[in-house]
């Protein structure tokens, strides 16, 4: 303890490399984004202060509002889907002993790949000439333009994202399930509770922290989806999968509306922040 007290210099020196990286590449750009959103920063570097003009423009911009809608709808499709899939597979894995390690590995496998990889494979699966339509043709159905239909494109993209990512949440939930003492379940069984009642009254309450963690992580991730949409649809058809990150990317690197793109970034941050706070509240309330 004595040494900890008189070590101000070495402590700082050890933090210094990471601190420098953080200040330059995290703190400065974060403040920069907030600052830029109040200017009309141009690619030439010229800028003047414009107040909240950029934010006012957002509220009047059909492309931004459309992207906002797509983002929210995508999150609303993806999060429940991935929670259901990862919870079901975690429950299945938890109740099976035979070849459990193999199954767990197979289900987790897509997690280690990239969204670009997933996008390339699933573009083929969804194509008119691809796997799903090939299978549908065998039973005289289709072809279905999974990525060409404005109503199907978001569920189709969410499915790919679930495939690529559910292994992670499954492992978190599996660890949560394993930490539930068997004696609790045995006691419930002895009391005559059926499988659903045991899940409802024993498993679910004890799993709630893990479920909450998974929901928060997946929600934040879903708001930030970019790679997959960029590769699979580019935001189409007719901007039906054009979300906030694609709008930010196009405004910034397509049209060079840098300040406006930064404003979209700030609005994304605010959105993610608000949703996280609401989720936090809901959890706190449900625990009382």
């Amino acid at each position: 303890m004595r040494h900890r007290l008189r070590d101000p210099i070495t402590g700082l020196l050890f933090v210094l490399p990471m601190l420098v990286l953080f200040v330059i590449f995290r703190f400065v750009p974060t403040l920069g984004a907030a600052g830029m959103s109040l200017t009309d920063y141009k690619i030439s570097g010229d800028w003047s202060f414009v107040g909240v003009d950029n934010y006012a423009r957002l509220l009047d911009d059909p492309i931004f509002l459309g992207a906002l809608r797509v983002t929210v709808v995508y999150v609303a499709i993806y999060v429940p889907l991935t929670v259901v899939v990862s919870l079901s597979t975690a429950l299945l894995l938890n109740s099976v002993i035979f070849m459990k390690g193999l199954f767990r590995g197979a289900l987790f496998l897509p997690y280690v790949t990239s969204f670009v990889f997933a996008g390339v494979i699933w573009r083929w699966i969804y194509e008119f000439d691809g796997l799903l339509n090939g299978l549908l043709a065998k039973i005289d159905l289709g072809p279905v333009g999974f990525l060409d239909d404005t109503a199907l494109v978001l569920p189709a993209l969410a499915t790919v994202s679930v495939w690529k990512g559910f292994g992670y949440s499954m492992l978190i939930l599996l660890a949560g399930l394993k930490s539930i003492p068997r004696s609790y379940l045995e006691a419930a069984r002895v009391d005559g509770a059926n499988a659903w009642q045991r899940f409802r009254s024993v498993v679910f309450p004890l799993l709630r922290p893990a479920l909450f963690f998974v929901m928060v992580i997946e929600t934040i991730g879903a708001f930030q989806t970019f790679d997959l949409i960029y590769v699979m649809t580019g935001g189409g058809p007719s901007r039906a999968s054009y979300n906030l990150i694609l709008a930010l990317y196009d405004q910034g690197f397509g049209d060079f509306n840098l300040a406006y793109a930064a404003t979209i970034g700030i609005s994304l941050f605010v959105l993610v922040f608000i949703v996280s706070m609401i989720q936090r509240r809901l959890l706190d309330r449900s625990e009382k």
Binding site: I24, T30, V116, G134, L268
Partner: protein
């Protein structure tokens, strides 16, 4: 290690557990069958990708019919095209350099945050954690302008250095080192060892397991990263494999060639998976790293 011992709950009595398992096993088979179906469905895109990658280019293949013969032509054509090779090497450089530098800087910072006392320590740690709340995309535009101003666009340092500021890594190292007993560090100090030797000879060896875990994750994060390489590394000399793979589209590039490229790009991830699966799986459960 004491850490794992304190965290592990007491195992249930052996006889009792096997009795439970024995009773349940009769009812297991439908669940095993269901699990097998879901597992096969999950893995099937990989298998189909391999079939496509090995199919002769521009000839009918799955799902319409089984290809007449399998060939490594697509794989070889990709591997011998200079662009593809450069992207692959670039991805390796991007990932490997990031692993080494992040492990070093994050373990140093984690050690200081866990075991040192210096002015502003808690504020700094809080600030590091707070950056996790800010989505990377929200800072993308200013970050790109900054890196361009520093002449980092289309350079390796511009690609790599901004991705090294990793708060998850610092936080993980801090948590792990904080649980190590203070006496280990005190003893070395009493012996008069300089601080850098304490770090090299005590901190690094003791944190090996968590460094290995973190290294695997950093490798995967960077190998699979897309948005930052997409905006900052436009020229072929710096372009990474994910960005290159995303650019392979169109009539002149046959499906089977694209699948072969995708298959090659995923090999390092699969190696990591098959060699370190148990490790990855346990660390996700314990640390929540994503």
């Amino acid at each position: 290690m004491t850490l794992t011992e304190t965290k592990r709950p007491a195992p249930p009595p052996v006889g009792r557990r096997s009795a439970v398992r024995g009773r349940a096993s009769g009812r297991q088979w439908p669940l095993v069958a269901l699990l097998a179906v879901v597992s096969v469905l999950t893995v099937s895109p990989f298998l189909l990708m391999v079939v496509l990658a090995l199919s002769p280019a521009n000839e009918p293949t799955v799902p319409h019919r089984w290809p007449d013969g399998l060939t490594f032509d697509n794989i070889m054509t990709n591997l011998t095209s200079s662009g593809f090779l450069t992207w692959t090497v670039n991805s390796f450089i991007f990932s490997a350099v990031s692993v080494v530098v992040i492990l070093l800087t994050a373990s140093m910072a984690g050690y200081a945050f866990a075991k040192k006392r210096f002015p502003g320590r808690d504020t700094l740690m809080w600030a590091f954690l707070a950056t996790m709340m800010v989505p990377f995309q929200a800072t993308l535009i200013p970050l790109f302008i900054l890196v361009s101003e520093l002449d980092g666009a289309d350079t390796f340092w511009g690609l790599i250095v901004p991705t090294l500021a990793n708060s998850q890594a610092v936080f993980l190292m801090r948590q792990f080192i904080r649980d190590l007993p203070d006496e280990l560090f005190e003893a070395a100090k009493v012996d008069g060892a300089p601080e850098w030797r304490v770090y090299l000879q005590i901190v690094l060896p003791l944190t090996k397991p968590i460094l290995a875990t973190l290294g695997v994750f950093v490798f995967l994060w960077h190998w699979n990263d897309f948005l930052w390489p997409l905006v900052v590394a436009n020229s072929d000399e710096v372009r990474t494999l994910t960005v290159g793979l995303a650019s392979l589209r169109g009539e002149e590039f046959p499906q089977s060639m694209e699948m072969a490229a995708a298959a090659i790009s995923v090999v390092p991830c699969l190696v990591v998976f098959f060699v370190l699966q148990r490790y990855l799986v346990n660390s996700i459960a314990m640390t929540g790293l994503k």
